[in-house]
Symmetry: C2
Subunit: 321 residues, 2 copies
């Protein structure tokens, strides 16, 4: 038993917590719905409660907990652990670090989801050759991260890789952020749900949730198949822009939408390769090994890096820095 | 007298060579047309001849020449000094380094135009605080470079910042690279010339060259004013995408099109700030101090960095590393 690191992933609709052992395995895992967010910081309370439950179920004592890493959607300041900007109502100003560090008496490292997923892919594979890597987390929205020479590209305000809100179309669809034509207004979970609502309003007999459309597509429902193929095209257009600007050797996709990877892989790959410059299109585009836990695992890598605990993982190749 | 560094800038239509002294001043400068490119490497011959003439006019002996730096359009391999890919016919495979190093018996450093302009802005100002910087060279086409923590973002194949060929519109206008909707198919010198050809074909009484349209716009010709304002909007759309992906603290524009900066500055700034995420839109967007010599000066910085000649510039603040 032990030691363990706690990994947390705060998504728009769900929070996930997991205990990671020295082999890099998630040995305990829990997922809970995000509570309505308001003044009382119920989000942080949910995180603390979920982590306590994970420790309890794993029979792990606090003394065996090395560190806590938390990945989150929204724009987070890694120094303070506070969400400093988010298009989601009520999220701006939420302090994720203090409640967690007070509860568990550990240093808590907070990192953006896109960055966390990049760290997971860079240090646990599939990109173990350390070449420039782009991660794209496609859940309700789209978050990205980029690593070159072991360094995250952060930008002036730690706000680089805001690719979910780059302009893909002019004017395009209305986004959760209030503007139009954003990448994630066209691709990802929210975009797909909006599209389905429009189809249904127009009289099409389609389910309301992307997961249900995926089930029908897997069962050869033609409209549902084409809806997912079109998602691949739209995601591919965004990936192509990122290939031309960042020139990664590998793109690693993760997030809940990747459950349906087989439904949109082909159209995404074709679009990305057709639309990027030929040299920049020579790139591996793959699904993360465990796409729904990539952010959680990356949060642990971020925490171990921050504390220079390069000895934590038993596998020397899974070095953290 | 001396020592001096030779800076070269290979554009699509013109090559420029200049002698740079220890104060960072261009003390001799020559510009020549790019010859038709073919098997005999007339481009490299033109470079050698132009550099010799610059040395001659400056009365500078070869012994006083410290190093040679060459910035170029196209995709260059900095290790070999060869243009390894270019949308321009006949440019792929041109060796820029060997003829120059044989003629001048100096190490020759070859760098992409966008990277060179970024180095110039980063080390000579306006971005002397060393915060993340995006350079955009708008000449016939568009080349970009990005520096964070003193490091150029290069990507897997030294092919990052190919922003001139990222997809701005779907499908959009046909580009020199054969694809459609590229940023530089809509903005910059070639794009503007194509637009003017279309206007003229449709019977509008307009001059053929962007410079002439700029002259008329400066003299209050309404159609010409609006053509340049629209250029600002189109450039701003591309800048906004780069702001969201890279989050620079400063954007420095250079290149021949910047001669008309006053005609498109306002619409570019407004568009970039409206279209990028609010946090990422908080950025200084400025014209380089000497926009047509930024690449040449940056080529010298690249050469001095490559040779670790950090003592060359007298001004300690203009450090090269």
């Amino acid at each position: 038993m032990g030691p363990f690191a706690m990994g947390i992933d705060v998504g728009r609709t769900n929070v996930r917590a997991g205990l990671v052992d020295r082999r890099g395995q998630v040995v305990q895992f829990l997922e809970e719905a995000v509570p309505p967010v308001g003044q009382q910081n119920p989000l942080a309370e949910t995180l603390v409660r979920t982590c306590r439950e994970v420790l309890h179920r794993g029979g792990v004592k606090l003394a065996d907990l090395v560190t806590v890493g938390c990945a989150t959607v929204g724009h987070v300041d890694p120094d303070s652990g506070v969400i400093v900007a988010s298009p989601l109502q009520g999220w701006t100003g939420i302090d994720l670090r203090t409640p967690l560090s007070q509860s568990f008496q550990r240093t808590v490292t907070v990192e953006g989801e896109g960055n966390a997923a990049a760290l997971a892919a860079y240090f646990f594979g599939p990109s173990r050759d350390r070449s420039p890597l782009l991660s794209m987390v496609v859940g309700s929205g789209i978050d990205c991260g980029f690593i070159e020479d072991g360094r995250l590209l952060r930008g002036a305000k730690n706000s680089a890789l805001e690719a979910g809100h780059m302009r893909l179309f002019h004017p395009g669809r209305t986004c959760v952020c209030g503007r139009t034509g954003c990448f994630e207004a066209h691709a990802g979970g929210y975009a797909l749900a909006s599209l389905l609502a429009e189809y249904r309003a127009a009289g099409h007999e389609l389910p309301a949730r992307p997961e249900e459309v995926a089930e029908l597509a897997q069962a050869s429902h033609e409209t549902c198949i084409s809806i997912w193929e079109e998602q691949g095209v739209l995601l591919g257009l965004g990936v192509a822009i990122l290939l031309d600007i960042l020139n990664p050797a590998m793109v690693v996709l993760s997030g809940g939408i990747l459950r349906s990877w087989n439904l949109f892989k082909k159209s995404l790959l074709k679009t990305a390769r057709d639309k990027a410059m030929p040299r920049n299109a020579e790139v591996a585009i793959v699904c993360a090994p465990d796409p729904e836990r990539a952010c959680l695992l990356g949060a642990v890598v971020a925490a171990l890096r921050a504390e220079k605990r390069y000895d934590f993982f038993l596998d020397a190749q899974a070095e953290t820095g």
